[in-house]
């Protein structure tokens, strides 16, 4: 059985390592400041005992006030999982750091979010639309797109 690690405990650990990086946390997930995302992700991937070597899925949700990018991480080595989130409040130019340098499986998924939700990923090697054509106006998965 894949054990869902307590996000609260991990958040305490992360807060000790990177002060000010966690916005909030509960039992199921933790929200990281987008500026600290990359160092937190590196920590989660490389720390022995955590070893989140497998990025299951990335997706984004539009909550009007902010966009939330959701990372589902799994460790194949230890068979446990964690949900990490980050937010961006800027509706006109939302951006979060790309994690392609850590998990290459993020490549197409980040492009998908960029295409449909309009969030750009800093440091992505090839950030362009994936499903819709170049020149398409708007980002359909946003709640204000009709």
């Amino acid at each position: 059985m894949t054990v869902a690690l307590s996000a609260k405990e991990i958040a305490t650990k992360l807060e000790g390592q990177f002060p000010g990086s966690i916005i909030e946390s509960n039992q199921n997930n933790l929200v990281v400041k987008s500026e600290s995302l990359l160092e937190v992700a590196t920590f989660l991937k490389t720390t022995p005992g955590l070893d989140f070597d497998y990025l299951t899925s990335i997706t984004a949700v539009d909550y009007y006030d902010y966009f939330e990018v959701v990372y589902h991480l799994t460790s194949i080595k230890h068979n446990h999982s964690l949900v990490v989130k980050t937010r961006c409040y800027d509706r006109d130019n939302p951006s979060v750091p790309s994690v392609v340098s850590l998990w290459r499986g993020a490549d197409f998924q980040e492009r998908e979010i960029y295409d449909l939700m309009g969030i750009s990923f800093d440091g992505h090697p090839n950030l362009k639309r994936i499903f819709l054509w170049e020149g398409f106006q708007g980002h359909p998965l946003r709640k204000d797109y009709l």
Binding site: M1, D53, T56, S57, T59, I76, R104, F108, I130, W133
Partner: protein, 367 residues
């Protein structure tokens, strides 16, 4: 004096028999060797994730049929399980067993197409493909018995399955599980040691273990690269923890391993179906669920081991009758991330086989 050469760009697809749908590979060639590759997808994008936000939870089940249409039962299952997790609905035991039987039959049917199409790409034109269709036909007949459909089943319901099985189903299923191992032996006899298949698939398109994990590959692609990871074992759902079965894994991660894993998984699926038939309890197949279900505010990620990899649904509820967000973790889209690494350095003829060995369904890639 050396002859001046320059790289040459060729578009394979979007309409090309080897692309299994509308998919374009923009390959840069040096002579016959692929030196760069760009994937162009989206030709079949229907915006299912957006459409689903405007329909009720139940109305979305038919949409999932239209993701990977070669494995509609598995898509149904993944979605309804995610909704049940979100709303805290329990499922009658008989329905759980029926779900497992359908999901495993679907795995066999999907792998038959996957292997058949792969051999088609290898140059065994249509013969193995039609052998595989012979058995798939029997599975479709079984599905037709339970739900009246042969491709888009819409069989699973939130809280169970739509109908109990008719009385002629179990004898027909019994006949099928007795025949199927013989058919798989037949494929092995014709293919496993086939010199042409070995020459074309062994050592071609290797995906190393570390890269397979890093690239978030799943399903036969991941297991072909000798990673023992199957959601049915790693995170058992439904009643999978009650069955004995093995996870076949490949050795080096070449095209042959991915083919071999699929063949072995069919044997394991037959094993699971046999056990499920023996244990099948009697009783209800559907719990009562409100007609307009509105789950509590929250979010859920539910995943299953679909034939082509880890299929996940991420749902966010705002306590209304429609999901606030409906995201599909499409296994084949993510498996395609590995394609460029696997293909570079191989000739065009090999590139076709490497692509075929991933076994994708464009309806799921593009959604």
């Amino acid at each position: 004096m050396a002859i001046k050469t320059e790289p040459f760009v060729i578009n394979i697809g979007p309409v090309h028999p080897s692309t299994h749908g509308v998919f374009r590979m923009r390959a840069t060639l040096d002579g016959e060797v692929v030196i760069d590759l760009e994937l162009v997808i989206g030709y079949l994008h229907r915006g299912i994730e957006k459409l689903a936000e405007g329909r009720t939870y139940t109305q979305n089940i038919p949409f999932t049929d239209r993701l990977d249409y070669l494995a509609s039962m598995s898509n149904n299952l993944a979605y309804v399980m995610a909704v049940e997790k979100l709303a805290g609905i329990s499922v009658p035991e008989r329905a759980e067993y029926l779900r497992v039987i359908m999901a495993e039959l679907q795995r066999i049917a999907s792998h038959l197409i996957g292997v058949g199409a792969f051999l088609n790409d290898c140059g065994a034109f249509m013969t193995p493909f039609l052998y595989m269709f012979r058995e798939r036909e029997k599975i479709l007949d079984l599905f037709e018995m339970v739900c009246g459909q042969r491709l888009t089943y819409n069989y699973m319901r939130i809280g169970g399955v739509s109908h109990d099985i008719p009385e002629e189903f179990l004898p027909a299923l019994d006949k099928f599980v007795r025949q199927m191992p013989g058919f798989i032996d037949e494929y092995d006899q014709l293919l496993a040691e086939n010199e042409i298949l070995l020459a074309r698939a062994k050592g071609v398109g290797i995906l190393p273990k570390e890269l397979a994990i890093n690239i978030s590959a799943s399903g036969p692609v991941l297991r072909g690269s000798s990673v023992k990871w199957d959601i049915r074992k790693a995170d058992p759902y439904s009643v999978y923890d009650r069955f004995q079965f093995d996870i076949p894994i490949g050795s080096v991660g070449d095209c042959y391993d991915r083919y071999w894993v699929k063949i072995q998984e069919m044997r394991q699926s037959v094993r699971i179906i046999k056990q499920a038939m023996e244990q099948l309890p009697s009783g209800e197949v559907l719990t009562e669920v409100p007609h307009l279900l509105h789950p509590p505010v929250g979010e859920v990620y539910g995943h299953i081991e679909a034939p082509k990899g880890e299929l996940g649904f991420y749902l966010v509820s705002d306590n209304s009758v429609a999901p606030y967000r409906f995201h599909v973790r499409a296994p084949t889209l993510i498996n395609l991330t590995a394609l460029r690494d696997m293909m570079i350095g191989w000739k065009v003829a090999d590139a076709i086989i490497i692509f075929g060995s991933i076994d994708i369904c464009l309806a799921e890639v593009d959604r």
